[in-house]
C-alpha cells in the first residue's frame, strides 16, 4: 500500500473515530456529572440510543421555515468531519489533508456551522430560537478576539498555526510545555471551550428553562433525523475542541508515530484516556460553579482575552 493511500485511510479512520466516540464522550460527561451530584445518571451509551431513536422518528417542520432550516443540520454535521481531517486526532505526523488548512481554518469551519444554525433558529418563527441565536452570537462575538489571540500566541510560540506543527513543537520537550506563554494560552483556551460549548459558567447544559438558554434553544424546533444530526454534531464539536485542546496544546503525546496500523489503533485508547481526564475536569467545573448572569459573560471572556494578551506580551518581551 502506498504512503498516500495509507494516509488517506488513516484520515478516514479519524473521521470514523470522531463519529463513533463523540456520543460516548457526551454520555460519560453526563453520567459523571450525575454521579458527582449524588445521582445515578443515565447509561454512558444513552446518547447513542437517543440518536438511534431520533433517526427512526418522523420529522415535523414548521410551515414558516425556508431551505436554511433543513440545510443547517447537514452543514452542522459535516463541518466537524472536515475539521478532524486537519487536526492530529490519532497521528503525530501530518496526514493527507494536514496542510489544507490551519487552526484559523478550523475556527472558520466551525463558524460556518454556527452561522447556519443561528440562521436556522431565526427561521422557524419560534420566539426562543432568535433569542438563543442572538445570545449565541453575542458570546461568539466576544469569544472571537480570544480565538484570534490564542491563534496568534500559538503561532508566535510554534512559528506555525498548522496543528500538526504546533503539536510537534510542544511535544519536543518538557521545557516547551512549561513555558509561561504556553500555560497562559492553555488557560485562555480552556475558558474559551467553556464559553463556546455553552458549558457552566457561561451556559447551563442541563437547563430546561427556554428563557435562560443561550445555545440550546436553537435546537428546540428540530425533530426526527434533523434533531439526531444536531445532537450528533453537538457531541462531535465537543470532541473536536477536546482533541485540539489535548492533542495540540496540553498533552501532545500518545499519538501514533508510525504508519503501522497497530500503532494507529493503539493511539485510540490513549486519546480516549486523555479525554476521560478532560471530561472529569469538565464535570467537576460544571458541578461546582454557578452559571454567570448574561452580562457577566463579557467579564469572563475579557479575562480570557487579557490572559492571552499576557501570553503574547510575555513572548514579545522575550521572557518565555
Amino acid at each position: 500500500m502506498s504512503a498516500l493511500t495509507t494516509h488517506l485511510l488513516i484520515n478516514l479512520l479519524q473521521v470514523a473515530f470522531l463519529l463513533a466516540f463523540a456520543p460516548l464522550l457526551e454520555g460519560v460527561l453526563k453520567r459523571l456529572e450525575e454521579i458527582i451530584q449524588g445521582k445515578r445518571g443515565p447509561s454512558i451509551f444513552q446518547p447513542y440510543r437517543d440518536i438511534w431513536k431520533l433517526f427512526g422518528k418522523d420529522e415535523v417542520v414548521s410551515e414558516e421555515t425556508t431551505w436554511v432550516f433543513g440545510f443547517a443540520p447537514l452543514i452542522n454535521f459535516v463541518m466537524p468531519l472536515f475539521v478532524v481531517l486537519l487536526i492530529p486526532a490519532l497521528t503525530a505526523y501530518p496526514l493527507f489533508f494536514a496542510f489544507m488548512g490551519d487552526m484559523v481554518a478550523v475556527g472558520f469551519l466551525m463558524a460556518i456551522a454556527g452561522f447556519f444554525v443561528a440562521l436556522a433558529a431565526m427561521d422557524t418563527g419560534n420566539v426562543y430560537g432568535p433569542l438563543g441565536a442572538s445570545r449565541t452570537r453575542m458570546v461568539g462575538f466576544l469569544a472571537e478576539p480570544v480565538f484570534m489571540m490564542v491563534f496568534f500566541s500559538v503561532s508566535y510560540v510554534a512559528n506555525s498555526t498548522i496543528p500538526y506543527i504546533v503539536n510537534a513543537t510542544w511535544a519536543a520537550s518538557w521545557a516547551n510545555m512549561l513555558q509561561p506563554a504556553h500555560i497562559l494560552v492553555v488557560v485562555a483556551f480552556f475558558m474559551l471551550i467553556l464559553a463556546d460549548e455553552g458549558r457552566i459558567p457561561v451556559d447551563s447544559h442541563a437547563g430546561k428553562v427556554e428563557v435562560a438558554m443561550i445555545g440550546h434553544s436553537k435546537n428546540l424546533e428540530y425533530s426526527g433525523t434533523s434533531a439526531a444530526l444536531m445532537k450528533w454534531a453537538g457531541a462531535m464539536k465537543l470532541m473536536i475542541l477536546a482533541i485540539v485542546f489535548l492533542n495540540v496544546l496540553i498533552t501532545p503525546w500518545g499519538l501514533a508515530a508510525t504508519t503501522h496500523w497497530s500503532d494507529v489503533f493503539l493511539a485510540i485508547p490513549k486519546v480516549l484516556g486523555k479525554m476521560l481526564v478532560f471530561v472529569v475536569v469538565l464535570a467537576l467545573i460544571e458541578t461546582s460553579l454557578a452559571k454567570l448572569r448574561l452580562f457577566r459573560i463579557s467579564e469572563f471572556l475579557a479575562a480570557a482575552f487579557v490572559i492571552c494578551l499576557f501570553a503574547m506580551s510575555v513572548r514579545l518581551v522575550g521572557i518565555g
Binding site: I183, S298, V314
Partner: protein
C-alpha cells in the same frame, strides 16, 4: 535540581502567579477573591521552594515556610475572625470601576511592568531567575496597588496590600538569595501584624456601621 528544569518550573509558577493575581482583581465575590489570594500566595511559596532547591539556598526555603504560614494559613484565619460574616455571607464586593474596565487596566499594567522591568533585568543579568521574577513581581505589586485603589472594601483592600507584598517578595527572591534571617523573620511578623491591624480596623468599622464597605464612609457624619 538542575537549573534548566528549575527555570522551566519557575516559568510555569510565574504564569500561575500572574493568573491568580488577575483573578483577585476580577473576582466579584469576597470568598472567591480570598481563595485566589491563597492560591497566589501558594504560587509564591512554590516559586521560593523551586529557587531554594535550584540555588541550594536554605534562606529561600525559610521564605517559602514563612509565606505559606503567614499568607495561606494565618491571614485567612485573621480575616475570618475579623470579618467572617462579611466574607462568608456577602456575595459581591463594591468597586469604583467596573470589572471589564479593571481587566483592561490590568492588561495595561502588565505591559507597563514588562517594559519597566526590562532595564532592571539587564542590570541583574547574572542572576538566573531574575528575567522572569522581576517583571512578574513588579506586575503583582501594581496589581495589588490597583486593587487597593479600586475596591471600596476593607477586606479586599487588605488582600491588595498583601498581593503588593507578595509581588515584592517574588521579585526579591530572584535577586537576593541570601536574605538575612532577621529580615525574613521581620517580614514574617510584619504580614500577620498588618493583617491583624487592618483586621481590627475592619472589625471596629463593622461594629459601628454594620458593614465593611469603606467606600460608603467617604463623607463624614457627626456622632450625636
Amino acid at each position: 535540581m538542575a537549573l534548566a528544569t528549575a527555570g522551566a518550573l519557575d516559568g510555569l509558577i510565574a504564569a500561575l502567579f500572574v493568573i491568580f493575581g488577575l483573578g483577585v482583581i476580577v473576582a466579584r465575590q469576597m470568598l472567591g477573591a480570598l481563595y485566589l489570594f491563597m492560591l497566589h500566595a501558594t504560587a509564591l511559596t512554590a516559586a521560593a521552594v523551586v529557587l531554594a532547591l535550584a540555588l541550594d539556598s536554605p534562606h529561600l526555603g525559610w521564605v517559602a515556610v514563612i509565606t505559606f504560614t503567614t499568607k495561606v494559613i494565618a491571614v485567612p484565619l485573621v480575616l475570618r475572625w475579623a470579618a467572617g460574616s462579611e466574607i462568608y455571607e456577602r456575595r459581591e464586593v463594591d468597586q469604583v470601576l467596573t470589572i471589564p474596565v479593571s481587566i483592561l487596566i490590568a492588561a495595561a499594567i502588565a505591559l507597563v511592568a514588562w517594559v519597566a522591568a526590562n532595564p532592571l533585568v539587564h542590570a541583574v543579568a547574572d542572576r538566573p531567575f531574575a528575567a522572569v521574577h522581576l517583571p512578574t513581581g513588579l506586575m503583582a505589586m501594581l496589581f495589588g496597588a490597583f486593587t487597593v485603589a479600586v475596591r471600596r472594601e476593607g477586606v479586599a483592600q487588605l488582600m491588595g496590600l498583601l498581593i503588593m507584598e507578595s509581588g515584592a517578595f517574588f521579585a526579591s527572591i530572584a535577586i537576593v538569595h541570601d536574605l538575612s534571617i532577621i529580615a525574613e523573620v521581620a517580614a514574617a511578623v510584619d504580614v500577620p501584624i498588618a493583617a491583624l491591624v487592618i483586621g481590627l480596623l475592619i472589625r471596629s468599622i463593622h461594629r459601628v456601621t454594620g458593614m465593611t464597605r469603606v467606600g460608603l464612609l467617604a463623607s463624614l457624619r457627626e456622632r450625636r
